[in-house]
């Protein structure tokens, strides 16, 4: 009953979207009337509520373990804890798509709410665009990926008890990520509306700003959580694998970051408008492309949902039409949109433009690398791989100068600067920076990449402090600072400081943990001791345990090398019904570092010896903490009431 209701709501939403299309076309292009506009708003609210309700009904069906629904039969099980029954809703293709729709509904709801007092003619065009996106996704769900299909006869029990999917990290990673992806719809809609209208101004940039930030924050959190989950769950001690699906989430993130900065220039200096618009369009297209790649079985990846070419063709066609139409519109309206005013290279807007060059170049690079195997296959029929060695080699050199430039941009003024002024403002920072670099080069050793990372991180940190210092000091003397001036700095600036600080922390974490990590792999039997640099690790005993559902062997490791000796327990489970093994790595946190032990299978069988992998990852926590701080900085920025009109 509930499932039927869910499906009916979905159909209603589709029908209403079609009606919306009819009305919005009239309102935007033929004959604007205020009454019709209010009808649009009402239709919006209705569609949004229908989508959210439909999703809730699917969740309820999962919680009730209604196995008469095919989707629930395939992906759930009565023995699953409640949290994972709920999260199982979106742990599959159809359900996650419905979640996408629900988020479209949620965003649409707030968009309609907050644009109540805005320019109606323009807002109508925004609604027109976002509705087209809605139609595409709702149609896709109804016609190719209906989560409410029934199955008969009704099975006793569900099939879905994949242990890997029963994890808190994995429960929250898709919702956060999708909130980021779906949020991009709104800047996209605003950009298309601006193109249709034929003009863009600072007010537009100000209106779009919070939506860009919200999207960015969620996308950052989603990617970070995914990375952290992969780290502790998959047992290889790595936090980023340049897997196609990871790349496909990074691409919109890079462009979203560029969009954030580009829009700032549009807001402040009424410039870079064509950049802002193009970035919105391409960032949105990349989320569609990402959806296509993940769900069509196009690329081999750990992540891929069940592949289905029929679905692939639908999404691809939708992507093709929407992006194609947007880019054509862009070409047509380009001259009307862009301002002729040239920017000073030596200014904040010039710097932000340069920053965008780096971000866009890295996006092109990663996109090409991810799709290259596909290109080669089409052209020559050969299968090749493009993996981590390639991406690290080409991406890092592009992004590193960008970090250096960011530090400078934070300190540079709008409109114009002279080299002398800039150096004057930076000279304390440069002196401290050179001093610290000297100390570090003297005290530490490691590969070049280690130093570059640390130096960039320190530079960014010092730049932030320098800008803050320059803002709060009186011009009288070096040490004369007026703390009360700190209160006149806008909150969004503090948000910016925090976000870039988070970036510095992130880079520091990457530099140290990637360069200084320790790795040991070998076989150990009980009582055996292994020495890894300063650590002495003994496998004291292996304890077997049998539960209703699984058998496990837990290795009890005693570790000497930290301030006090500790015990760590690494488990390897075999689930009886599915025959699938899973490993629970033992992770011990020491300040910001991790000692990480994984116990694998017996090698050789029945010998009592087991494969053991030991990682020591120094300062690795800085990676996710840094990313989290970036998101938090974004959050603070949004809360600046003065910036949002």
């Amino acid at each position: 009953m509930i499932a039927e209701l869910g499906f009916i709501l979905l159909i209603f939403a589709f029908v209403l979207s079609a009606i919306h299309l009819f009305f919005s076309t009239r309102v935007c292009f033929i004959n604007f009337s205020e009454d019709n506009f209010f009808i649009l708003r009402k239709i919006n609210f209705s569609i949004c509520l229908l989508l959210i309700a439909s999703f809730l009904f699917l969740i309820i069906s999962y919680v009730l373990s209604d196995f008469s629904v095919l989707n629930i039969y395939n992906n759930s099980h009565t023995n699953k804890p409640l949290l994972y029954k709920v999260s199982g809703t979106w742990g599959n293709h159809e359900g996650s798509l419905l979640m996408w729709l629900a988020f479209l509904g949620g965003y649409g709801f707030f968009l309609t709410l907050y644009t109540k007092n805005n320019n109606k003619k323009f807002t109508a065009k925004v609604f027109f665009t976002s509705n087209i996106v809605n139609i595409g996704f709702i149609g896709f769900t109804i016609f190719t990926s209906n989560p409410f299909l029934r199955i008969s006869p009704i099975p006793e029990e569900g099939k879905g008890l994949n242990p890997v999917l029963q994890d808190p990290g994995l429960a929250f990673h898709p919702p956060l990520l999708y909130l980021g992806y779906v949020g991009l719809t709104i800047p996209f809609a605003y950009s298309i509306a601006a193109l249709l209208e034929g003009k863009i101004d600072r007010k537009w940039a100000n209106e779009i700003r919070p939506w860009i930030l919200i999207s960015w924050i969620f996308l950052t959190l989603g990617i970070t959580l995914g990375s952290f989950w992969a780290y502790y769950e998959l047992g290889w001690g790595g936090w980023w694998f340049w897997d196609p699906v990871e790349n496909v989430s990074l691409l919109p993130w890079l462009l979203l970051t560029a969009l954030l900065h580009s829009n700032r220039v549009t807001e402040k200096r009424d410039n870079l408008k064509s950049w802002t618009i193009l970035l919105s369009i391409i960032a949105f297209s990349l989320t569609l492309l990402g959806t296509f790649i993940v769900r069509s079985g196009l690329l081999t990846s750990v992540h891929a949902f069940a592949s289905d070419p029929a679905r692939g063709i639908y999404i691809l066609s939708f992507l093709f039409l929407i992006t194609g139409a947007s880019l054509i519109l862009y070409v047509i309206k380009y001259d009307k949109i862009e301002s002729d005013e040239k920017l000073n290279l030596l200014s904040k807007e010039g710097g932000l433009l340069l920053n965008n060059v780096f971000l866009c170049a890295s996006t092109v690079t990663i996109l090409l690398g991810t799709l290259w195997p596909l290109f080669v296959e089409v052209m020559t029929g050969k299968d090749i791989s493009v993996g981590a060695p390639y991406f690290n080699l080409v991406f890092l050199p592009i992004i590193m100068p960008a970090i250096f430039v960011s530090g400078v941009i934070i300190n540079i003024n709008w409109k114009r600067n002279t080299v002398e002024n800039l150096l004057k403002k930076l000279n304390k920072a440069i002196i401290i920076f050179v001093f610290l670099v000297g100390v570090i080069l003297f005290l530490l050793e490691g590969p070049i990449i280690f130093f570059i990372g640390i130096i960039l991180s320190i530079w960014l940190l010092i730049s932030i402090i320098n800008d803050f210092y320059e803002k709060i000091r009186t011009k009288k003397s070096i040490s004369d600072i007026k703390l009360s001036k700190a209160f006149s700095i806008p909150i969004s600036t503090y948000g910016m400081y925090l976000a870039h600080f988070g970036l510095a922390v992130f880079i520091l974490g990457v530099a140290i943990s990637d360069s200084k990590k320790l790795y040991y792999e070998g076989v150990m039997k009980e009582k055996e001791i292994v020495k890894v640099e300063k650590f002495k690790i003994q496998l004291k005993e292996i304890v077997e345990k049998k539960e209703k559902n699984w058998i496990s062997q837990t290795g009890n490791f005693s570790v000497e090398g930290f301030k006090k000796n500790i015990s760590m327990f690494a488990e390897r489970r075999l689930y009886l019904d599915t025959g699938m093994p899973s490993t629970e790595a033992a992770i011990y946190r020491n300040f910001f570092s991790h000692l990480y032990i994984v116990m694998g299978q017996e090698q050789p069988l029945n010998s009592g010896k087991r494969i053991v992998r030991i990682y020591f990852n120094p300062f690795i926590i800085l990676i996710w903490s840094g990313a989290f701080l970036m998101a938090f900085g974004g959050l603070i920025s949004i809360c600046d009431k003065k910036r949002n009109r």
Binding site: G297, Y330, L374, F375, E377
Partner: protein, 179 residues
């Protein structure tokens, strides 16, 4: 002068996103159309000579060298511990009279192999043992069962990953006869 030419050319820069997008779309549509064909794991050794296999003969009516370059045959990698190999075995039995089949037991124990064959039948004209799996790696094996089709000139013409069914075998033989 050059600057002016570059200037007028740059007017068309705004077209670059859509041009690149059209190129990308072509590739994506092509791939999605052909996705079924491209899923097969092609062997890199196609149309090359069969690499030298240094394995111990368990049982054979003749040697590999007497066949190579003279008659077509197939090489079937199997194992007694491999479940899908059992199903495939009946197919091989069916064709054992019409085709010359060489069986290579992969990472197996000689006694288990003999038991397997006495239980399910022996379609192999030559039986060899690859106990450490190294010879298999020389052929680019992913796992068992896999079957290689060698033509009368000693070249590898096709590699089947996974168990053979009657239908698959018929199709392969048909397409190979055509060439």
């Amino acid at each position: 002068m050059i600057k002016k030419e570059i200037g007028s050319f740059l007017k068309y820069i705004k077209l670059s996103p859509i041009i690149l997008f059209l190129i990308l779309s072509y590739f994506l549509f092509w791939k999605i159309k052909n996705i079924q064909n491209t899923k097969e794991l092609q062997s890199v050794l196609l149309n090359q000579d069969l690499p030298k296999l240094e394995l111990e003969y368990v049982d054979s009516k003749f040697t590999l060298n007497s066949l190579l370059g003279k008659k077509p045959f197939i090489i079937n990698f199997f194992a007694s511990w491999c479940a899908p190999c059992r199903e495939e075995h009946t197919v091989l039995e069916k064709y054992s009279k019409d085709l010359i089949i060489i069986g290579i037991a992969y990472k197996d124990d000689i006694n288990n192999v003999k038991k397997f064959l006495s239980e399910l039948g022996d379609p192999y004209d030559i039986l060899m043992l690859d106990s450490n799996g190294r010879a298999a790696i020389d052929l680019g094996l992913y796992g068992v069962p896999e079957t290689y089709f060698i033509d009368s000139k000693g070249k590898i013409k096709y590699r089947q990953v996974g168990p053979l069914t009657v239908k698959k075998l018929e199709n392969i033989l048909k397409s190979l006869k055509v060439n």
